[in-house]
Amino acid sequence: MASIEMRHIVKQYGDGYPAVNDVSLDIADGEFMILVGPSGCGKSTLLRMIVGLEDITSGDMIIGGKRVNDLAPRDRNLSMVFQNYALYPHMTVYENIAFPLRLAKMPDDEVRRRVTEASDVLELKEHLERKPANLSGGQRQRVAMGRAIVRQAEAFLFDEPLSNLDAKLRGQMRTEISRLQRRLGITTVYVTHDQTEAMTLGDRVCVLRKGKIQQVASPRELYEQPVNLFVAGFIGSPPMNFLPASLEGDRLQTPFGPIVLDERRAAAVRGRDLLLVGIRPEYFEDASLVDDAKRPLGSVFRARVDVTEWLGDSQYAYIPYEAPDAIRTQLRDLSRELDSEELRTQAIVSIDATSRIREGREADFWLDSRKVHVFDPQTGENLTRDAEAGARLTQMATEDRVEQVQEAQTHGSTVGGGASRAGAA
């Protein structure tokens, strides 16, 4: 087990394109760090630099206090799960898991003990003598995990390990990975483009854009105090709505009526005229269903609903709005960068599943103005970010982690037998 420190890491390809550009990141011992971003943001490249499959152009990679820039992958003692699992098809499951131990010239009975332990943890016992070709996708995934945990590695690295599984299995494996990581208490770096995985698995999440770190924070901080337009738009599903706004005193004039800002936020945005307001879908509600106590904390506006989507437990309404051309192009660029395509300027609004609002009609909506963020349309910077509140959220997540690790390890060593020994001894 070890911490991983990156100091000004740069990866430049032959054509001079920097895939990873000046990344500095500290991953604490036992922490679960997620690298996330749209395709081409350099997250996989960064992971492959940690494990040593990719050369580092400049900067320092420090694992467990030792600079490893020039070490071969096998000398870094990390284990990795590949996106396509990369199992050895000519070996049985047993030999696949035992492979790292065989390379380390471990005696046979020790190999047997460890492989048995790992296969118990992953419930692979009855498949040990089979070849990977005869396993299902989920089983192969578990074999790949077994190969990673069987060794006393300094850290686990995952490169989009669940992207080849179907949705149901993905959910199961996600919780499995989370449980395993807590039990083994091992430093983990996990690359994904799936934000559900990012939000649920990570102690902290590192959002990358074009090879640069945008924000490193707990999932809660990313969600509630995003540092800029990119992070705000990337985290959350359905994504945050961005509305054009102009400032009049302490009020923001938006297509959905005026929004009153509190003292702190008003001060932060003073002196600008054109702004972007970021409002998450769940900050809206059907005005007729809002408590009278809550109502004064927001504003009510009337708008025509274009489409509604009823999902049983929740309901989304799509409300089109007009935006100046400059804003419109910028929003389109942003959504393209986030791997989606925004064809029209519309707000996605989450309303109660019982709401009787129907598409094609006008309706009253309530907007919770306490949590809106205001962005500078030019730089994308979040003007109203409360850094202190954000830091508090991340601090809380860190404390939770320590507690969970302790809990899982005492629990694991009584119930799961030597499971924690398999990886962490």
């Binding site: 499959l53 096998r74 050895y88 492979f99 790292p100 990977p132 192969r140």
Partner: protein, 277 residues
């Protein structure tokens, strides 16, 4: 596929098989014919005899045939082995590494493969006599390498390219050196490719006539195809047709056995289950 269509495939397949096997059947038939029976104007021998086989195995032609058989086996196996090992490394480098001159190596290999053998036989004959390689095993193994290496490199690099690169990277992360990753992961996966290549290389060397007849003079290194050409009849008025046919049948057997033996190893899709799915 409709029934009608299937019938046509069967008919077509049957015709091709007959067309391909007829000369072989003819040779087999000839090998059982007596010298006076060769011109009997019928496909089957009038009275089948094994005289031709005894002639080449124990009789007058055995002094020519048996050493040649030993030479052919030895030379071809050695040439195949060397060319497979060399081609394996070359193909691995070509498939995996990015180095200047990669295309040059591939195109040179191709150029060597299509170069007409007959045009270098004479200079080689002179050179070999000068440096003492004439009529020796190495004297044939070296030119055979020039025939087998290009095709081996091309086939094997195609096989290596099929193996996902992650396999090696996984092995390296698991603690393998480059050499261990190659030996324990890549080579087993490439085994079907190596066997296929070995068989092709063996055939090429086994079937060579031009080098065999020109670069040898005694049973010290003369291979079978060259020896066949030197058979003589019982008298000068008799052609050694029967003996040649018998020898041809005998030298075809190892080739057939080889294919049947390794057919099982040439299983496509050994990498099944390596990645996702």
């Amino acid at each position: 596929m409709s029934t009608r269509e299937r019938t046509w495939w069967w008919v077509g397949g049957f015709l091709i098989v007959v067309y391909a096997l007829f000369p072989i059947a003819w040779i087999v038939s000839l090998s059982f014919k007596d010298a006076s029976d060769i011109a009997n104007q019928s496909f089957l021998p009038t009275s089948p005899t094994v005289d031709n086989y005894t002639t080449i195995l124990t009789g007058s032609a055995s002094g020519l045939f048996l050493p040649a058989l030993r030479n052919s086996f030895g030379i071809c196996l050695i040439a195949t082995f060397i060319s497979c090992v060399l081609a394996m490394f070359a193909a691995y480098a070509i498939a995996r590494l990015d180095f200047p001159g990669k295309r040059l190596i591939l195109s040179t290999a191709l150029a060597v493969a299509i170069f007409p053998v007959i045009s270098i036989v004479t200079p080689l004959f002179n050179l070999w006599r000068q440096i003492g390689l004439y009529d020796t095993w190495p004297g044939l193994i070296i030119p055979y390498l020039s025939l087998t290496l290009p095709i081996s490199i091309w086939t094997m690099s195609a096989f290596f390219r099929e193996i996902p690169w992650e396999m090696e990277q996984a092995a390296q992360v698991d603690g393998a050196t480059t050499w261990q990753a190659f030996r324990k992961v890549i080579v087993p996966l490439a085994a079907p490719g190596v066997f296929t290549t070995a068989i092709i290389a063996f055939f090429i060397a086994w079937n060579d006539f031009a080098y065999g007849i020109s670069l040898t003079s005694t049973e010290a290194s003369r291979p079978v195809p060259a020896a066949l050409g030197l058979f003589s009849g019982a008298s000068q008025f008799e052609d050694p047709t029967g003996a040649i046919a018998a020898a041809a049948v005998l030298v075809t057997i190892p080739v057939v056995v080889l294919v049947l033996l390794f057919q099982r190893r040439i299983v496509a899709g050994l990498t099944n289950g390596a990645v996702k799915g």
